[in-house]
């Protein structure tokens, strides 16, 4: 299905096409990785809604990215339950091994590192979301294994030699 068809399918669920802006932005972001101006214009055009409405939502909601993010967006929760289980140690470790600060992206464009509010998975704190997936009960060894696994999915990346590392026993 094309992006336009997917957006039309989503719009059919609502009596008002303005309601479909959020679903359309999610569809567009899955397709393009982020939401630059021309993509926002296209969404507005497909739905036939005011451009300002689309811009407004793209900047209001934190899951929408108007700037590019790394191939893997590491979203480490640092809210209370994760903080109590030492998420800050994991943040420091990630900053060290990736050589970036929180909010930054590695030079090869592979990883963006962010901290986020509660992911709603505090039973497995500390938790990190990467793409669609949650990774819980994290410690430094598991973080290392996860990074190795993610790098291994990218052919010829600079980290490919790390791919041989053991996956975590989950």
């Amino acid at each position: 299905m094309t992006m336009r068809e997917k957006i039309e399918q989503a719009a059919a669920r609502y009596p008002d096409r303005r309601s479909a802006i959020m679903p359309a932005l999610l569809i567009a972001q899955r397709q393009h990785g982020h939401l630059p101006g021309p993509v926002l214009e296209e969404v507005a055009e497909i739905l036939g809604v005011e451009r300002i409405w689309v811009y407004e939502l793209a900047t209001f909601y934190t899951l929408f990215h108007t700037e590019p993010v790394g191939k893997f967006h590491l979203q480490l929760c640092d809210n209370v339950s994760c903080m109590l289980r030492r998420s800050e140690d994991l943040l420091r470790h990630l900053e060290d091994v990736l050589g970036i600060e929180k909010g930054g992206t590695t030079a090869d464009g592979l990883f963006t590192l962010s901290t986020v509010e509660c992911l709603g998975a505090c039973e497995m704190a500390p938790v990190m979301q990467v793409g669609d997936d949650y990774h819980g009960n994290l410690d430094i060894a598991r973080i290392d294994a996860l990074l190795a696994r993610l790098r291994a999915t990218v052919p010829h990346s600079i980290g490919a030699d790390l791919a041989a590392a053991e996956p975590p026993g989950e």
Binding site: M22, V80, M83, E117, D133
Partner: protein, 421 residues
């Protein structure tokens, strides 16, 4: 031993598939509702059960439903609040991931009761697995005739759509959620009009939490007396408790309403890690005022917690042990509320900004004489003066920390450092 009701299917392999759900008696309550009861009967049944909303406020569900006008020239809507952003809370996610049909059945019966033919489930965008499972379950239910036109031979038509959120805690506030569903920035609306009269697209709308809705099929199946007989009569029913933080067995526990907080933590969640002691517990997500260890014998229900100045909220129980700095916990909570403030009203937007600055400097050992008084004053200025409950919750929680752990705040200021690092 309490037999789980709401989590019965959650730990069954393939519990998310319709075959498993049906094999466990699933969708029979919907059949019973459609064949044996009028919509009015269901509203009365839920009223008699004393079911109160599990989203945080504890509003009586049957009463909320009865506010929907019987006759209306506009379509009515049911919205399921699955935004679950309250830190410490994860019950709705687990239900949707592992037992989505239970929610669909609950929505179908509730929609029948209020006369809605369309429901939107507003799920926070991070919950990708829950969203997939819910969409798959909707397709299964449609194929089996539990959703769609003329359900199970009745004249009731009903469809469910999933609406995916995009990361804003305020969308959990019911009127902000309606704005978000209408394609606007999420900001709370002025009430009245209440959503039951003019909600989504200005139509009569009922908004209920996931856990509230999944109670409904069981009330239909087993009766109002059964439900009212579990826990305190005014605040009854089986209840999901999310336990996290400094306990040996964090997890989701289903127990009667009103269970003592201490019993939940010690007997079910394994107590604090070896060698540590509990210092404090946040009983209902970070909006709920903290309870010091001496207060843990309180019952986990709406009225008992309100009586001790806290609240059941989302039943997100966060356990904090004696190695933890309470100034740091309080600071992190206020940072959260400040980050999530929608900016509509000044006491919340500006007040919380100021509170964060003062708390951060106290935690850093740079607090000044007069900072405690300033925090007290800020709490007073925010509480009762905000447009929605976000600002109030923030101020109430901070006030409890300042009251119960004042010594720790003062020690930071006097020693000019955090005593816990």
């Amino acid at each position: 031993m309490f037999e789980p009701v709401l989590l019965k299917n959650v730990y069954v392999p393939d519990g998310h598939l319709i075959a498993t759900y049906e094999a466990g008696g699933g969708y029979r309550a919907l059949e019973k509702a459609l064949k044996e009861y009028t919509p009015h009967d269901i509203v009365e049944l839920v009223k008699r059960s004393n079911l109160r909303g599990r989203g945080g406020a504890g509003f009586p569900t049957g009463m909320k439903w009865s506010f929907v006008p019987k006759r209306a020239d506009k379509p009515k809507y049911l919205c399921c609040n699955a935004d679950e952003g309250e830190p410490g809370t994860f019950k709705d996610r687990i239900i949707m991931e592992r037992d989505p049909h239970q929610l669909i059945e609950g929505m179908a019966i509730s929609a029948y009761a209020i006369g809605a033919e369309v429901a939107y489930v507003y799920v926070r965008g991070e919950y990708v697995l829950a969203i997939r499972r819910l969409e798959q379950a909707i397709a299964e239910a449609e194929a089996k005739g539990y959703l769609g036109a003329r359900i199970l031979g009745s004249d009731f038509n009903f469809v469910v759509h999933v609406h995916c959120g995009a990361g804003a805690y305020i969308c959990g506030e019911e009127t902000a959620m309606l704005d978000s569903l209408e394609g606007k920035r999420a900001q709370p609306r002025l009430k009245p009009p209440f959503p039951a009269v003019a909600g989504l697209y200005a139509s009569p709308t009922v908004i209920n939490n996931v856990e509230t809705l999944v109670c409904v099929p069981h009330i239909v199946a087993r009766g109002a007396d059964w439900f009212r007989g579990i826990g305190p009569e005014k605040s009854p029913g089986p209840k999901l408790y999310c336990v996290s933080g400094h306990v040996r067995k964090p997890g989701l526990y289903e127990l009667p309403m009103g269970i003592p907080l201490r019993e939940l933590i010690e007997d079910h969640a394994g107590g604090p890690p070896t060698g540590r002691k509990i210092k404090a517990v946040i009983p209902g997500g970070v909006s709920a005022p903290v309870i010091p260890e001496q207060g843990l014998d309180v019952g986990m229900d709406f009225d008992s917690l309100a009586a001790v100045g806290s609240m059941l909220g989302s039943a997100g129980v966060i356990v904090v042990d004696d190695t933890t700095c309470m100034v740091r916990v309080a600071t992190r909570i206020i940072e959260f509320f400040h980050h999530e403030s929608c900016g509509k009203c000044t006491p919340c937007r500006e007040g919380l900004n100021w509170v964060v600055k003062v708390l951060r400097r106290i935690e850093a050992g740079e607090g000044a004489a007069g900072d405690m008084e300033q925090l007290d004053m800020l709490c007073k200025g925010i509480f009762g003066n905000t447009f929605c409950a976000l600002g109030d919750g923030a101020a109430m929680g901070l006030r409890a920390s300042l009251t119960h752990f004042r010594d720790e705040f003062v020690a930071h200021i006097e020693e000019r450092r955090c005593p816990f690092v």
